[in-house]
Symmetry: C2
Subunit: 310 residues, 2 copies
């Protein structure tokens, strides 16, 4: 099945305690597309400038990403400059140059309009609804957003949320969006606005799923090899939504596995700058790490234990 | 089997967004003892002043806590005053009055010296070693510590750690103790100093176990009913160590279950101020919540899924 993703493709300059990467390829739709491409066909709608390298577009095509929706226009590509301290859960933005992304108006190619799964990466909620007006009847609409839109366009965001099946945000955004410090109550409030599925990202602490009235907690893998957390959230979304598109089932069993698949992709992505780790990643590595996540949280029932008196 | 716990019994005054509790019973050894008492006999070594209520001592005795090691001396009981904002992972200490706890010198009654499991709550690492000199051959020594001792008595703490099997600390303490921002590397460094088992508490994010070269992640239960996080870490330790004392096995299977049992006890404790929730807690409630934790993290293997193409 096919996933349509609409969002940013960018150049990132990132400093972490482990190094500096200058003008490497990034952007939420870019990370998402590569992560999802391990599971499904991906259709990318985004805009880049004349300075964007063909080499990366070839890499995306090689991963089965359909680029007919990627426009290259006069001007410079979106640039983000940020740094992380030892707390990898918080990026400090040093500079943002929207460049050609400032005038981004998503135009969905006709061949994309039958996409069964749509992921609206973090863009203006007005544009997110523009996208949905241009597609027919997706089986699943997933979306991201951020504090910027929550603060500046709350009404538009609420209208978008009415059309979203699965919202993928971090815990701070969950609380801010619902204006409720308790995460459980915040999640329920947001569900009442539309999204029946909530995937809440918590960085190095893992992620939570609320669906069908039930919570699921996905642990993050303790890693000694984290280099750069940039794009981890988008790789999580790409792994999760890509896996759901492959299965085309959105029940609890599939959603829980999708949460782990998202965690697997994110755990690989942070091991190198940009999306370098995903360039060499293989499906056997993904499956092996899925099993590692299974072992990570496994414990025996009380009753199953010999010698466990009650 | 018997657990010996040495630490503080106190009066806490705590303000959270959900209310204020004034001079309620608290203290790390107190919380630990009550939590552990659901699984094993507990022997308590601590000191209180003349102002400490008989009523609470009767409650402890009723839960099977041996109080022959609890001294009541002239003066006032240890008092702590703190508050929490909406971030329940961080307490702000407003006042500490050590009172009779300032001169606390643990004296282990002769009948306690054969204790098979020892928990050294958060006290001066010199005193922690004093305790270990007074017991014979415990099968398991577990210990807590805090930033205060890590900063002020690092050498003494290192000597104590050489004698400790299981260290139970939070993630910030783990990083500070090892002087290493990466948690995985920090944990390995601490292990090289003595403790072969590390239980790392992460508040609302759950807890991590490192033992036998393997990580285990225990999720925390998303709760909409958190009233007061005070004592959650000590209830975690009490549930975990109490469960281990009941089983008297310290293998991976038991340790992983103990992590969940600690999480279960902590999850109940935060539902009310002081240790009020534990006063009415029953073993069937504990077992039911253990099963909830199992369901919380359950997901199917990839291979087990019908329709999961590889």
């Amino acid at each position: 099945m096919s996933v349509l993703v609409v969002g940013s493709v960018a150049f990132d300059t990132v400093r972490t305690p482990f190094g500096l990467a200058t003008e490497v390829v990034g952007g939420s739709a870019n990370y998402f597309a590569v992560a999802a491409s391990f599971f499904t066909d991906v259709r990318l709608v985004a805009v880049v400038g004349e300075d964007f390298p063909d080499q990366h577009l070839e890499f995306l095509r090689g991963r089965g990403v359909d680029l007919r929706g990627l426009r290259r226009v006069p001007g410079k590509t979106f640039r983000w400059v940020g740094e992380y301290g030892f707390d990898f859960n918080e990026a400090k933005t040093l500079d943002t140059q929207l460049n050609v992304f400032a005038d981004f108006t998503p135009i969905i190619p006709e061949d994309y309009q039958d996409s069964e799964v749509v992921f609206l990466a973090n863009i203006d909620p007005d544009l997110q609804r523009d996208v949905l007006r241009q597609v027919r009847r997706p089986a699943l609409v997933a979306a991201d957003t951020m504090n910027y839109w929550i603060a500046r366009k709350p009404d538009s965001l609420r209208r978008t949320l009415q059309l979203v099946d699965a919202l993928i945000v971090n815990d701070a955004e969950t609380r801010q969006l619902a204006n409720e410090p308790n995460l459980v109550r915040a999640a329920r409030t947001i569900q009442s606005w539309g999204p029946r599925i909530l995937l809440i990202k918590r960085g190095e602490y893992g992620a939570l799923l609320l669906a069908e009235g039930e919570w699921f907690a996905a642990a993050a893998l303790p890693l000694d090899s984290v280099q750069d957390p940039t794009g981890a959230g988008d790789c999580f979304a790409g792994g999760a939504v890509g896996y759901l598109a492959k299965r085309m089932r959105f029940d609890t069993v599939s959603l829980r596995q999708a949460m782990i698949m998202g965690s697997v992709l994110a755990s690989f992505n942070v091991e190198a700058f940009s999306l370098d780790r995903l360039r060499t990643l293989t499906m056997p590595e993904i499956e092996a790490r899925f099993a590692v996540f299974k072992r990570l949280v496994h414990f025996e029932d009380l009753a199953a234990q010999p010698g466990a008196s009650r």
